[in-house]
Amino acid sequence: MNPIQASELLERAAASVTPSELDPASRMVGLGRRSVRRRRAWVAAGSVAAAVVAVVALPLVMAVPGRSHGDEASGGTVKFGGLSVVVPKGWRTSKVKTVDVCTAEPRTVYLAAAWADSSPLTVAPGSAPYICKSEGQAWMALVDHNWGQAVNPERLITKDGQLLQVDHGIKSSGWRYRAFNQVQATGVYISGDEQDREQLLKRVTWPAGPAAPPGGGLALPDRITSATSEYRGPMVTAMDAKTLNEIRTRLAELRDPVPDGEECTLQKPGRVGIAIDDVIVVLGDATCPQAISTGGGRVRAPAGLGKELLGLIVASDRAAVERKNKD
């Protein structure tokens, strides 16, 4: 018998390993949060850490509601997770536990519980980058456990009256979409060239998002207990009453609604997302001087307001840490 190469032996063994976590991203976020919390508590025990604990407790209670979404095909239309897709002629549908974005077959609509990327973790030094066989191919996947809602989405567009979070997928030919106003929402991964993606996106029907508040403006919580955003990577949180009142007042002053058809795309790098209790508000810069709330409403907004509010949150966050370090 010929000897087996060591690399082949290890590769075969590795290929037999299947992780036990179905939704590792959520799991790791939870563990990561706890890790950060422990570290913060060690460095600056007290109110800052306690505040994080309080906010972390919230999703544990409220993110639980499950969704039931049987999938069904009727004629050329597939329904899955609240979305419906008109399947292109000559395409097939495939229901899978996990769709692998590296090996996905062209001209296929996947209905998947989860997604993964099986491309190699490493490549030999000096060798060419690994190219997945799905790269550049036209296909799409509706994914239950997906990439999650972001406070600072790469891009926000409006389709069928629904606000969609859009970002570039792991693969260069892939883009990902999900409803922005829902914590749990079915995601859509679309692969192909720009024309393919546009055509495929048109085939997806999304449930309508929340209407604007009856009184106009942005939907905001009556009372704000925290405002959280990102500043150069790490999360920053404001919890003091003065800052929160100012943020709420400034947002409540925005009353000029954006008429249908005049929505612009809120996108990187200028947009600022702020999680305010149970809603997210995103404000654009000069390229799109509008603001939206996941609770409903789209209004015109001063171009610099997002940065201004982010500055308030950063200042509040730093002041809280400094206070604790003095104690």
């Binding site: 190469q5 063994a13 992780p19 959520s26 790791m28 563990l31 409220m62 030094p125």
Partner: protein, 173 residues
């Protein structure tokens, strides 16, 4: 509403969702055990979460960072005698032929990996699965290239002695 789910560092969840399986597989090889490998992977990913502000950028190389954390953890486990906690199945008698004759080759490989000292196992995985050069392995472990060579040689010899017909073009005399 899951407030914190929405304010994760940009890109972290994507990274985990897309790379988790491969990272767990690396962990499984580094520990010789699938379950411990997942623990090791999670240790690396938690570290990445904390460091994401500098990893979640185009030049951040989060996978390399996670791998480095996992390798260090696997080596620390050796010092903590973590190896002793790993279940050790009896290896079949090698005299009747190599494991390559058996359908459960992967089971035999993991059993063989568990029998290796952690420092040999880590070198073997980095050299032959992660495709790192001897110099790269030496740098990442903080040992001499000669040490990498000898550990590699001993690891391959051990696997051969266990009945795994291992050959490698990378093995140096």
């Amino acid at each position: 509403m899951g407030l914190f789910r929405r304010v994760e560092p940009a890109g972290y969840e994507d990274f985990v969702a897309s790379r988790y399986r491969e990272i767990v597989r690396l962990g499984a090889l580094l520990t010789g055990d699938g379950r411990l490998g997942e623990d090791l992977a999670q240790e690396g990913l938690i570290a990445a979460y904390r460091a994401w502000h500098r990893l979640g950028v185009p030049e951040g190389r989060p996978e390399a960072y996670v791998r480095r954390v996992m390798v260090r953890a696997a080596m620390r486990a050796r010092r903590r005698r973590w190896r002793g906690e790993v279940p050790t199945e009896e290896l079949p008698d090698a005299s009747g032929g190599g494991f390559t004759d058996q359908s459960d080759l992967s089971v035999q490989v993991f059993a063989g990996l568990r029998r290796l000292p952690a420092d040999q196992r880590v070198v073997l995985v980095l050299r032959f699965w992660a495709d790192a050069s001897e110099v790269e392995v030496a740098q990442s472990l903080g040992v001499a290239v000669g040490t990498v060579k000898s550990r590699t040689s001993r690891a391959l010899a051990s696997l051969r002695a266990m009945g795994l017909f291992v050959d490698s073009a990378k093995e140096m005399p």
